[in-house]
């Protein structure tokens, strides 16, 4: 299906129940879906080079950049001097940028929200800044991301009904304003559905956003502290309501088993810091779970993390070596661990895709 923005289209190749195997075509290359997008907060997926991310068997087809973080550091003047985030970070494949909204509400020292936008203080130096739908789009334009996200208000998971309703109404109004901002060529724009864990409210919000004809639709405001069963319930009851001819993106999720569940519910795209952050914290993914590399039982273990894993880490070094590097706080540990966890996620998504194609 052609998407509203030139150069983009989304093809559903095969379905199995609500699960879809597809291809998102972009001006910067094709993205087989379902897909997991590694998070590159500050213009780097932590510990990885761009070349390593793109190389087989990891072969990341799209990564994330965080608008809030990049706006504060290095700042737009630096990114502009490089002609955008792609050149700055030496990454030629697609980049998705968030709108900055989530970080403004969760990270910024102080924030004041009004119908126009948000005034906040930097978590780094306390300096005062303002984000509005127009400013978010302008920043994402300078970043030159392949997919921009509409500026939304993401209320806390436990927020009262009136807060939820107000955030929803604002998000709708802001979505319309985002669509009115001119974007650079080759930049798509996704809308974000809020509504917490109330399925009726989600459907109502989607009813407001769907006619706006975004290039894709995201589910925001899940995995923000609610019980996992609540998230599954909302996904099962709601994800497949998102327009079927456009990519569906579940923001900030999650564990491998969450990705499986969400794909079964009809979601195509994911991002999460879990594989990269867990790696740095000593938690390495293996089929069926995780291992804690600092555990004494790995001290003498000459086996790789996972004998069936095709990543360079598992092909070259032992659990004992990784444990040694982790305990000695060696930088190489972070590289090898991150490479493994990201490869694990990439393989997990490819397996989900294969199983849909084979169904």
């Amino acid at each position: 299906m052609t998407m509203p923005t030139d150069g983009f289209s989304f093809e559903v190749v095969k379905t199995n129940g609500k699960a879809r195997a597809g291809v998102l075509h972009t001006p910067r290359g094709d993205i087989p879906t379902p897909v997991f997008m590694p998070v590159g907060t500050l213009g780097t997926v932590k510990a990885m080079t761009a070349g390593e991310l793109a190389a087989d068997p990891l072969d990341a087809r799209i990564i994330l950049g965080n608008t809030y973080h990049l706006y504060l550091r290095p700042g737009l003047d630096v990114i502009r001097a490089h002609g955008g985030l792609h050149n700055f970070a030496n990454w030629n494949r697609p980049i998705l940028t968030d709108s900055g909204g989530f970080q403004v509400f969760s990270l910024a020292a102080i924030n004041e929200i009004d119908d126009e936008g948000v005034t906040f203080r930097s978590h780094i130096d306390g300096s005062k800044h303002r984000l509005t739908p127009e400013i978010s789009m302008e920043i994402q334009g300078v970043l030159g991301s392949t997919i921009a996200m509409a500026f939304d208000q993401c209320p806390p998971g436990q927020a009262e009904t009136d807060v939820q309703e107000k955030a929803m109404a604002r998000t709708t109004a802001w979505a319309a304003r985002c669509l009115h901002v001119e974007r650079p060529a080759g930049q798509a724009l996704f809308g974000i559905v809020q509504g917490g864990i109330d399925v009726e409210r989600r459907k109502r919000h989607l009813g407001e956003l769907a006619p706006m004809n975004f290039d894709g639709y995201a589910i925001g405001g899940l995995s923000v502290g609610e019980p996992i069963e609540e998230m599954y319930r909302v996904l099962d009851a709601f994800a497949a309501d998102l327009p079927g001819d456009k990519p569906r993106y579940l923001m900030g999720v999650g564990k491998p088993q969450d990705l499986t569940r969400a794909v079964e519910a009809g979601v195509d795209m994911f991002d999460c810091v879990m594989p990269t952050r867990n790696a740095r914290n000593g938690s390495l993914f293996v089929p069926g779970g995780k291992i804690t590399i600092s555990n004494a039982k790995h001290k003498m273990d000459t086996n790789p993390i996972d004998a069936d894993c095709v990543c360079e880490t598992c092909q070259t070094v032992s659990r004992a070596y990784l444990r040694h590097l982790y305990i000695a706080k060696e930088i190489l540990y972070n590289r090898l661990a991150t490479l493994h966890n990201l490869t694990f996620y990439a393989q997990h998504m490819r397996q989900l895709r294969e199983s849909i194609l084979a169904s």
Copy 2:
């Protein structure tokens, strides 16, 4: 020239004055000389994978491992379970291990020296350990390094004459004891000449060690706080006295210009933490000097560190990107900076070799 240990030989291909271009043949591959050996203290050249070290254009032919550090962490049981340091660290090319002597005297919390050896407390947990010539050789045997170093006493640069003389006498006695320890197949042994900045004493010590017929000879106890002109004076007056048919190794040196001076004085091998440590501290080598990447003047600089450098860092990212990563304390900075500085050193040594060959 055949060296005493089977499988090793040293070939001087060309000389220019005292400077030599050669090849050190080892059972694990050839090492063109003069050569700089990156330091892999704990079984990792900090921030680098083994594959990256071996890949062009860095192409490191030999790296260092530190006996003291590896003995304490991960410990010999772990290394033994992997069949040696090569397998543990996934590095198949030559490794040179120091004897542990230098670290025992410089790092260990407390040390007590006697004619038999040294008792010391770990700088990590205060635990008590003992190193003797025999124990050092046994550890280096378990590590399975390609070149082992004799256990020596390295006195401080400002040490009085009687301390220097006593250290020299001990180093001679310990050298003989090291030679009596059986080594694994494919492991050469180098002797270390001490004597501080007194050329006469250096020559006298070499007179004691040369008849022992080590596979190579190292100059220890320089670059330990003495003025640089004193080091140059000793090198000019003494380095070429080391046996001409064997590799000559200047330990722990140094800056690119020091390497040039030492090669001119007849030295073949070097190691130093400078390129790797400087990289992590934000100091990047360029022809004729260094740049400090945190400097504000690099904020908007879209140029690479060095436009003529062939390393991946200079081929792919800007000074502004590196400055951003450095300020944000991103792990990727350490990788990219280390790769550049090590490539700079490798290229510097190759240029010195080329200029000797072309002379």
